[in-house]
Structures are given as structure tokens and as C-alpha cells.
Amino acid sequence: MERIIELVEDLDPGKVYEELSHPGSGGICVFFGAVREATKKRKVSHLFFESYENMAIKEMNRIADEVAEKWNLNKVIIKHAVGNKKVQEPVVIVGASSAHRDSSFEACRYLIDTLKEKVPIWKKEFFDDDEVWVSAHP
């Protein structure tokens, strides 16, 4: 299984098909996470993402190892943005490419769920008059 794993300033969502395309793949499932204009009815001005870079890359590789073991995949992609991100900009792209669609959907869902649970990346929401590290407090 090939993998593309990256932490970058700017994600390019336009390349995802060619990145996941493979002669043995009939199904490619991709999830894009994007900045929403509002959280709990409060208007968001932008988000800021920071990571513990080396550990984040290590954890992303661990997740790729896990999906390679659970499903029969040809390629996976796990990319996350860092820095400031405006509304509608992509912040995460994960995807899986496989012979049939079941595996691509299941693996893609696992990729994003596990990334959100395990990978040391932190998001701060900026509002006009406030800023909050997401999930930091109960």
C-alpha cells in the first residue's frame, strides 16, 4: 500500500484524485475537513492549527499501518494543514483507494476518526472578541 502523509501550510484539494488513482482501484473515497463560518452559532473569523510535527507524522503513519492491516487498499492519503485557515479553506484531507467501494469508505472513515482522536494537532477558534482552544476544557 502506497501512502502520502503530510503536514503543510496549504492543502491542494485539486490533486487528490491523481494522488489516489491506481490501476487496481475501482473505488476512491475522500474526506475533506473545512473551516465552517460558525461554531455553536458564533461567527468564526478563522482557525489556527499547530502540531507536534514529528509525533504527528509518526501517528499518521501508525494510522496508515492500521488501515493497511484492516483493509485491502492500494493507496492512502493523510494530509493536515497547519497555521491560519479561513472559512471554506480545507484543513484536512484523508482518502483511501481500493478495488471495491466498501473498503474505501470504511478505511476513509477510520482515517478521519482516528486522526481526530490520536494525532497531536490542536485547533484554536478565533471569534471577533475571543479565542478558544477547541476541546481543551470539559
Binding site: 502540531s51 507536534y52 493536515h80 490542536w122 481543551a136
Partner: protein, 79 residues
């Protein structure tokens, strides 16, 4: 030993990194947690606080060595 602070822990501690001379005598992750909690009580308000040693998650019982890179991992929120 080096201690790295990310996300809200950096805001609480006021800097991104310690070289940790003052924590020289600690034995385990749990000891470090207790010391940091005493010095920065706001750490205790977090939903959770994990530690990593050399880029791997570490339990409180894990021993810390002199050259380790320790990181405080508050609740992650990527994606």
C-alpha cells in the same frame, strides 16, 4: 531533558519549551505531572492531559531519562 508545551498548555505555562533544569530529580511521568500541576494549577482544569516521551504517548508510570524529549499533549483537536 526537554519539555515541550503545545496548544493551551503553552498558553498556561507562558512559553513553548523548558530545558527543565528545575525538574532534574523527577522519576516518572506521574512525578512530572504532579510538579507541573502544583506550579500551574490551570493544567488541572483541562479535559485531559497526556504526556509523550520521545514522540510516543507515555503512561504516568513511565520512567523519564535525562535525555528524553517530553511533550504535554492537551486534548487534540485536529481535523
Amino acid at each position: 531533558m526537554k519539555i515541550l508545551f503545545f496548544g493551551i498548555t503553552r498558553d498556561i505555562v507562558g512559553k513553548p519549551e523548558f530545558d527543565a533544569g528545575e525538574f532534574k530529580e523527577i522519576g516518572t511521568v506521574g512525578d512530572l505531572r504532579d510538579l507541573l500541576n502544583a506550579k500551574y494549577p490551570r493544567l488541572k482544569d483541562l479535559s485531559s492531559l497526556n504526556f509523550a516521551i520521545n514522540e510516543e504517548f507515555a503512561e504516568d508510570s513511565k520512567a523519564i531519562s535525562a535525555n528524553d524529549e517530553i511533550a504535554l499533549i492537551p486534548p487534540v483537536s485536529g481535523g
